[in-house]
Amino acid sequence: MRLILDLARGMLSRRRRQTLVSVLGVALGVAFFIAIASMMRGFQTYFVQQVIDVQPHIVIKDETRSPTPQAAQMALPDGAVSINGVKPVDRIRGIRAAGDKLATLEAIPGVAAAPILTGAALLRYGSRDVSITVTGIDPPRYTRVSNIEKDMLHGRLDDLRSTANGIIIGDGLALRLGVQLGDTVVAISPRGVSLQMKIVGVFHTGLVTLDQSAGYVLLKVNQVLQDRPNVVNQIQMRLTDVTRAEPLAREIEDRFGDRTESWEEQNRNILTVFIIQNAIMYSVTGAILLVAAFGIYNIISTVVFEKTRDIAILKSLGFTEGDVQRLFLVQGLIAGFLGAALGCLIGQLMIEGLAQVRFHTETPAGTDRFLLARDWRIYAIAAFFAVASAALAAVIPARRAARLDPVQIVRGAA
């Protein structure tokens, strides 16, 4: 109601300085929340973006999540079966019927899949040996599941197909070996196969593990090198909608039985750290807002205390308890709204200020500044919590005001 608003404004404007202090308290809480949330959200979004960018969204591996159940366990599902000294069957590892599975996966709309064989190898150039992970790929398919193509410094993935025994390596590895584009190195696998390989491309992803110890060759070449003909030990997948990764991974695992991991599962430890980070952020800013709420509680309490006569007169004039309660609640809300608005403004300024900061460090991830999320939802959350805590802080004194007995007040004053 307009009248209640006018009365509330009149009462607050009389205590301008105190109001300003509690408004500032709320504003600072809101501003810090916005700035911190923007930094954290920015970093987290960037990180997830990187992960989604560099890593496959789903990886199907040539293993099962738990060891194959033994016959005795299957026969006695409820029995207390203990089996000792199990000797695993010496079978050829690899995803069975990989071709059929690939065809099934590629038929799903919005999904790209690529077969891969990874294995260890030793690269030798002159007297230098570096052990690396060799990934055997099928270039046209692999480009659909990976962004390695855009990280190429020299050459292209397709060059693997035009050169016999070509290999693409990271720039860090090239530096360690002291090789350049066009040089020939020797690759030796744990199975004892050794191949002469020509460097046809160099990439730089920014991830040290990849840049210093990874190499890409044709799938067929790696199958020869690893002495595992026709074997595929991973299927990597990329989705147009990354949020589908986890449910789709579960579906695939249920269907094929192979261990299937989504990017969320592979990065679970870091994503958990984010959750903890967010919890810390919310508790810190929650504490600031709590202090601000006490400020509001304090000012409304003081106003109620000083305004007992006015409350009595308003009640004698025919204001109901509800009117009086609203009158003081509105004052808290006004302080909350002003604080939220001012806080959004200060928060915006803080973000702009943080955006100017430069660390002057060359990080592999290629960022020398705060990664800031400019998301209106951060502002909305901060403003909502500010107004809600202001309302909560005002409710208690407002209820006390509503219950004041005008007769007692008038009698006391007379």
Binding site: D310, L314, K315, G318, V410, A413, A414
Partner: protein, 229 residues
């Protein structure tokens, strides 16, 4: 045709505090429109308590108060507040104006709370009330810029804001000098005589009480005399 119900009727009204102190006991009182009633009595005789009971600010422990024939004992607090807003007007010893608001805004508060008039009409009415009490020039002043007598007249204007049938005043002249006190009593007399309102005034000033048309004298919470001019 039956006679219209009296404006205000108190039947056996008794107020006892939880601690056992009796403020007023067995009050029977009937007030008609146009009456100017002075409630007198020594300090602690229950004058103010009676006024609050009759003004629906307080509820009796026993007995009942009827306003315009309506029993108020069973009404919930919001209904009592609505009755106070529309039918009653209060003036207290201390003016009790809201200090943050001008004289005009103070008079406007009950009118706006009732919401029967649009703002321009409400302002017109408030100006009219202030003018009638000789406060036309003070309309836009804050209470602290007004003299005690003027403030009390603003309080009277505010009490009249919603055209009440019953005006209740608790020692309205307690803080005023003789001249201003007489002026306020003249206003009350006029409101009763010319406008047909009932006016109930608590006072301990016997001389001023003489200006009323009826004097109810209280001792120890009981009516000991009830005389009319």
């Amino acid at each position: 045709m039956s006679e219209p119900a009296p404006l205000l009727v108190a039947e056996n009204v008794t107020k006892t505090l939880p601690e056992g102190v009796t403020l007023v006991a067995d009050i029977d009182l009937t007030v008609q429109g146009g009456e100017f009633v002075a409630i007198t009595g020594p300090s602690g005789s229950g004058k103010s308590s009676l006024l609050y009971l009759l003004g629906l600010l307080d509820r009796p422990s026993a007995g009942r108060v009827l306003l315009e024939g309506r029993d108020t004992a069973a009404l919930p607090p919001p209904d009592l507040a609505a009755l106070r807003l529309a039918r009653l007007g209060f003036v207290f010893q201390f003016h009790f104006l809201l200090p943050e608001f001008t004289a005009l805004d103070n008079v406007l508060i009950p009118i706006r709370r009732r919401g029967a008039l649009k703002l321009p009409q409400a302002q017109e009415r408030a100006h009219g009330l202030l003018d009638a009490l000789g406060l036309g020039a003070a309309a836009n002043k804050l209470p602290e810029q007004l003299s005690g007598g003027m403030r009390q007249r603003v309080a009277v204007a505010r009490a009249l804001a919603n055209d009440p049938v019953l005006l209740l005043a608790d020692e309205p002249t307690g803080n005023l000098d003789t001249k201003n006190a007489a002026a306020v009593f003249d206003i009350f007399a006029r409101l009763a005589r010319d406008e047909g309102r009932a006016v109930l005034v608590v006072t301990h000033d016997a001389e001023l009480a003489q200006r009323a048309t009826r004097r109810v004298h209280l001792v120890d919470g009981r009516i000991v005399s009830d005389e009319r001019n």
